[in-house]
């Protein structure tokens, strides 16, 4: 029965190492958890505050969330995601909606669209994308300030056909060598505005806490 003993020994050693490595991971996880949660929240909050600067509102936007149900037609999101409310003196002055463009050049372009209660764009930020570096990635604010061009526009300024790249009769710039990516972001922004208009009662309702 020597082979049995050897298997037993090997098994014990393996189990021992599994236990030791698990403890090491668990210990690091517990040790870094607070810091990681803090970093994730800070990154999220930083992005939200870029859309609605701190001096425009008085609530903690990152905590004032609501569920945006899956909506493939306008927002392009396949599963429920988080939206944020922006308040001043308790009144909702804007919302930040998740929007996904599926017609980019390379995979989904995920964005956050900030919309004021008067229907104008407060800001658009591309959260994640895989567009071509150097061409399509100018939708990312770190690469170019192109997304700032949406600010203060709305569904009546410009009207429908204006929501496109200049090359196709719209009012927004395309980039040298890239039309598909900016067009996808422009259309996603327009659809998010349409969503906000259709659901304005729910989004900007007088007292959404009781709803």
């Amino acid at each position: 029965m020597k082979w049995l003993a050897s298997i037993g020994l090997s098994g014990t050693v393996l189990a021992l190492f599994a236990a030791v490595t698990s403890v090491a991971i668990g210990w690091t996880y517990l040790g870094t958890k607070v810091q990681i949660d803090f970093e994730v929240r800070r990154a999220e909050a930083r992005q939200l505050l870029e859309i609605f600067p701190a001096d425009t509102h008085d609530n903690e936007v990152v905590d004032d969330t609501f569920v945006v149900e899956a909506d493939t037609a306008l927002l392009g999101i396949r599963e429920a995601r988080q939206g944020y409310r922006v308040r001043q003196g308790g009144v909702i002055i804007g919302v930040i909606l998740p929007a996904t463009a599926r017609d980019g050049y390379s995979g989904d372009i995920r964005a956050l669209v900030g919309i004021r209660s008067d229907g104008t764009v407060a800001g658009v930020r591309v959260v994640s994308h895989r567009e071509t570096p150097g061409l399509g990635d100018k939708v990312d604010l770190r690469k170019s300030d192109w997304v700032l061009g949406f600010n203060h526009h709305s569904l009546i300024n410009p009207v429908l056909a204006g929501w496109n790249v200049q090359k196709e009769g719209g009012i927004f710039d395309q980039f040298t060598g890239a039309t598909v990516t900016p067009r996808a972001v422009i259309l996603a922004t327009r659809r998010a505005l349409e969503y906000a208009t259709l659901n304005s009662a729910q989004l900007f309702g007088i007292n959404p806490d009781s709803a």
Binding site: L9, S10, V13, L14, F17, A18, T21, S22, A24, I25, T28, Y29, T32, Q35, I36, E39, V40, R42, A43, T132, P133, G134, L135, R142, T176, G177
Partner: protein, 237 residues
């Protein structure tokens, strides 16, 4: 520590047996994250750390673990080291963690790490194994950073952009616009550029090796060209 000296280890890790240029291990992260210097540096640091931890741990337990179960044990150690690194990076360098994304956990599958554990660390004492892990990591990282710098320079005309992701707010000013480009040389940043630049680096290394060898051979072949006198005293060995 008699058969392999530290000098030998250094030479191996950095040049003669460089993980990236000679062993051609870990090409996936090498090609994927080297679009900029900061990404390359981040992955280089993470890989270096994992290599040192895994080599040291493997060397520490080399007497306990039998040959039959050594590979699963090594894999467990490496996976744990990578997960710990990932958590630490997420906690203290969150933005870089987001950029490196999937390539951080993928360090587990980097063949250099299992390779060094099995080929070196399990046969050598702790200090030597630690040093081997360190110098192999440096050799790999140096190629990563060089590749990142070349591609960033060719593709954007600048160097050391976005260093604040790694070194904090002060490093934003490190960006150095070497030349202006209206139309960036895109292929350098795209995946094909990674292959092209890596190929050129390997060719350059081989060229240097060849010319060094040729010079050494030439020196060995003609040692007495200048003098025709016959030695008449002493002994000839």
């Amino acid at each position: 520590m008699s058969s392999t000296s530290y000098r030998q280890l250094t030479l191996n890790g950095l040049w003669k047996n460089n993980p990236a240029l000679v062993q051609l291990l870990g090409l996936c992260p090498l090609l994927a994250v080297t679009a900029s210097t900061v990404n390359a540096l981040g992955l280089a640091a993470a890989t270096l750390f994992v290599l040192v931890v895994s080599n040291t741990s493997v060397s520490l337990i080399r007497a306990v673990v039998s040959d039959t179960i050594r590979l699963p044990v090594f894999v467990m150690i490496i996976a744990a080291a990578v997960t710990v690194t990932e958590l630490l990076m997420q906690a203290y360098s969150y933005e870089l963690y987001q950029i490196l994304g999937i390539f951080l956990p993928l360090i587990t599958t980097n063949c250099i790490i299992l390779g060094r554990a099995d080929a070196f660390a399990r046969k050598n004492a702790v200090p030597a194994a630690l040093y081997d892990g360190f110098i192999m990591g440096v050799g790999f990282g140096a190629v990563l950073v060089l590749l990142g710098a070349i591609r960033e320079l060719l593709g954007t005309g600048a160097l050391f952009a976005d260093m604040q992701l790694l070194f904090g707010a002060g490093a934003e000013a490190w960006r150095w616009q070497v030349f202006r480009v209206d139309y960036p040389f895109l292929v350098a940043i795209l995946p094909p550029g990674a292959f092209l630049v890596t190929g050129c680096l390997i060719a350059l290394k081989n060229q240097i090796d060849n010319s060094l060898e040729r010079r050494a051979r030439a020196r060995a072949a003609t040692p007495v060209a200048g003098s025709k006198r016959v030695r008449v005293t002493g002994t000839v060995s």
